[in-house]
Amino acid sequence: MTTAEKYVTAAYCVVFGFVLLYVVIIALKLRRLEREVDALAARPEPAPEDEREPVQVG
């Protein structure tokens, strides 16, 4: 392998590595969001508001 070939390979590996790193970071972020959605879905439903009619007291 000549020096030029080594440098060209390095340049394309840098591009590939960068894109791969970016995709991995985004995938990790999406996994975290998924976990948070699951945690939110597992929470109990908020109690419904009291719908009784107000009455005059006293």
Partner: protein, 235 residues
């Protein structure tokens, strides 16, 4: 824009899996053309093959910055909070591609000129200025509290940055002494045949790849925002 119209525009968008598949196919085709079809340059030899991705990445970075500035203008004009997030993601993409331009350019410079970097080259220094300007965008964004004031300041900053793009692009043509090659002249590209075909495919591939990454990141950021709102509502 009404909600129904917005939803119809969302529906008209290309689905993400299709975009990802197109990116993969185009990048693979571009790499095959670069290494197996494009002829070896008589002047620079094998090292000229960096050109196909280096120049394409540079134009993709410019496109991202222009896209970010356009979304910033939309934000300032229509006060649309979605445009602020879109502008931020576009600038982020531009910085990533800008970093790749500097790295691939340095490698090419080392083979062709024997140096990783030359401070005497206007084209290189102006691109570095543009890159650092947009890096500072994040310092501004993360130093302010979330809200309309931050969105407005970031939009103005992103708009100012776009002025540097024609300066960076024209620097090489205005310079009296340069060693950085001129790819596009007033009479068109400085190459033809398979070199031109390979360059065009690489350029389309990188633009589609950038758009795919932009859509993925934007979807993640929107989901994050929605989750934060839901958490606040549940609290």
């Amino acid at each position: 824009m009404t909600e129904a119209r917005h939803n119809s525009l969302q529906m008209a968008r290309i689905p993400l899996p299709a975009l990802a598949a197109a990116s993969l196919a185009l990048v693979t085709t571009a790499l095959a053309l670069v290494f197996f079809v494009a002829p070896t340059d008589a002047d620079q030899g094998f090292s000229q093959r960096i050109f196909y991705f280096h120049v394409s990445i540079a134009f993709t970075a410019y496109a991202c910055f222009i896209g970010g500035a356009w979304k910033a203008l939309v934000h300032l004009w229509k006060r649309d909070p979605r445009a602020d997030l879109e502008s931020y993601v576009a600038v982020h993409q531009g910085v990533i591609f800008g970093c790749l331009v500097l790295l691939t350019g340095s490698i090419w410079a080392k083979i062709s000129w024997g140096h990783w970097w030359l401070w005497s080259e206007n084209q290189l220094v102006l691109f570095l200025v543009l890159f650092l300007f947009y890096c500072a965008y994040f310092m501004l964004r993360f130093s302010l509290d979330d809200g309309p004031q931050r969105a407005n300041m970031c939009a103005v900053y992103a708009l100012f940055g776009v002025i540097l793009i024609p300066v960076s692009f024209l620097a090489i043509r205005l310079a009296t002494r340069f060693i950085h090659p001129v790819v596009f002249t007033r009479h068109g590209p400085n190459f033809n045949g398979w070199i031109l075909v390979t360059y065009c495919v690489a350029q389309v591939a990188l633009l589609v790849l950038a758009y795919t990454l932009y859509r993925v990141e934007l979807a993640g950021k929107r989901l994050d925002l929605r989750l934060r709102e839901l958490r606040r509502a549940y609290a």
